[in-house]
Chain length 376, copies 2
Amino acid sequence: MIQASAGSELARDSSRARIYNFSAGPAVLPVPVMRQAQEELLDYDGSGLSILETVHRGKTFADIVARTEARLRELLAVPESHAILFLQGGASLQFAMLTLNLSRPGEPLAYADTGHWSARAIAAARELRSVNVAASARENGYTEAPAQEAWQPFADAAYVHITPNETIDGLEFDYLPETAGRPLVADLSSTILSRPLDVSRYGVLYAGAQKNLGPTGLTLVIIRRELAASAGVEVPAILRYRTHIEAGSLYNTPPTFNWYLIGLYLDWVADEGGLEEMARRAEARSTIVYDAIDRSEGFYVNPVAPGSRSRTNIPFGIEDGELEKRFLKEADGAGLKQLEGHRSKGGMRASLYNAMPLAGAETLADFMHDFALRHG
Amino acid sequence: MIQASAGSELARDSSRARIYNFSAGPAVLPVPVMRQAQEELLDYDGSGLSILETVHRGKTFADIVARTEARLRELLAVPESHAILFLQGGASLQFAMLTLNLSRPGEPLAYADTGHWSARAIAAARELRSVNVAASARENGYTEAPAQEAWQPFADAAYVHITPNETIDGLEFDYLPETAGRPLVADLSSTILSRPLDVSRYGVLYAGAQKNLGPTGLTLVIIRRELAASAGVEVPAILRYRTHIEAGSLYNTPPTFNWYLIGLYLDWVADEGGLEEMARRAEARSTIVYDAIDRSEGFYVNPVAPGSRSRTNIPFGIEDGELEKRFLKEADGAGLKQLEGHRSKGGMRASLYNAMPLAGAETLADFMHDFALRHG
């Protein structure tokens, strides 16, 4: 048993040099985070028990909860005006929760439509309210984020919703829209913790953990406390932000192991230099891959306008669909994993989250160059 | 690194002989399940990637999903009339979802009130519908489950809800109520997989995973497919059972690692002999602890009537509250962990789930006997 464990760890040590995980999510995690989780898996902090089997109401888990919140408040400079929640159900449950909590039946909402995930958010909101698409990239084929001047009026909207980075379309806003006093709500699933934010500008920001925060199973919600006060009685308690603020996200049993891993992940981000450093790395990684596309003389295509290109999710294609299949197969063999594009788009996609080493982007760029030489 | 890992595993090997985890949930997991998860944590199935960072739409995870469902269908003999779902949000989200999906506004519901968790379910349902408490243990102080003859009429109810085992009160039904054709809905969080069930008798059964299925983060829902067809358009897609049946529980990103652990847990149950064997062990473990209470000449008290005593959750107290504190402290020192009663009740509680070895119950009984001799 011990030998097998040591063996697989050694295998990982040597193979990690050549394996890079470009999954859009659940995504690459820092190796030191996984190693610590592995070491402690059967005995957390000398308790003789696994964190997997530790009660969520005791001191051990309370310490994890407190440390996680403190670390996140520090990293993102979250002001006291905003509560930090960890909730189940993914960003998809947030699509419904934010509509139910932040607006009353009959109140209109304003959304920007910039790709797949904003369309999902809009569809969910339209099940409950009237949605005004106040800004859209539909006309340009989702290749350029709408400019501030292009926004339609939304003075009557209960809130304004944007998806600052579209994970599938590879499109991101390079500015935060002015909302004329309406609460700004943002799905930051793919860019949270990849750069500093001014949290005070958001009414609500939310992010599934499985890209830049940890494993899947929890969703971070940062909400201006006063916005949680107004949910109507028609909203079930489990779906009210107020419930979870009052309970410190422990209204019911949370995914404890997932929460613990988020804590380790946040420690890793801090140890590596915080959000300024994460932003520097995101810029460096994405520049390497975009350069590989742009210097391929049209062999690789990414249709997004330069000012709207995502620093975390880079979709790209090759005109010849058969070559795309070959690219994916050869890349996988070369240790460049999970590069498949989203099933709605096909092609390839390189997701470059915090835990992706710079060497991963470099290895991918080298492979792309070599592949184009051989097949161009 | 390797030495540390091996060291902690060795520590666990030797300490496991004296450490028993009586937590009500998140609860004890089988050591072989945790060991396998530990071994594979950085390299799942030779992929070079952790299951924590593996995309939920690929073949690797699809295999886990398929194997988990097949195993569960086999263990619980789930008929094809019923769909198996793994959902986020815990049993608490199910309290709202089942009301929203199985009834229309204005339709009354029938619930049995047998303790803390049925009261939570009733409170959640009352936010949305009119609830008829058709059977209650309130009059007897939640010490005896209501008899079949005691049920009030509920012919107009959209469904009939019971909590077959009350995790906090330690009370369980020893029969399944007749529901005169109304769908029977049951919260089986604390007894799922602890004995064979006739799934065909349930319209919906649901269970948070963190007691008898795996770690916290997923909730098992087994639902008669035809019941999912009727949810109204006023129910958001993410809260419709139909949505999750159509998507095979992959409507949005699930907690993949938690799902994988449930798969390992189910394999363990099958390897150990299946549900008949789990039932035999539950009977043996609980008999040992109840005997320790009953033979203590009143030193330990469990108020539940013999025919309603839970085989999984045994609350007990000592008249002298100071002695209870001492009991918990000494028990913890003796490796009998997480025996604290629920914060609403105080005292002690021994939860004896599938993964609790018989030796755990025996060690607890010996400790109880010795403690009573010293302090009685």
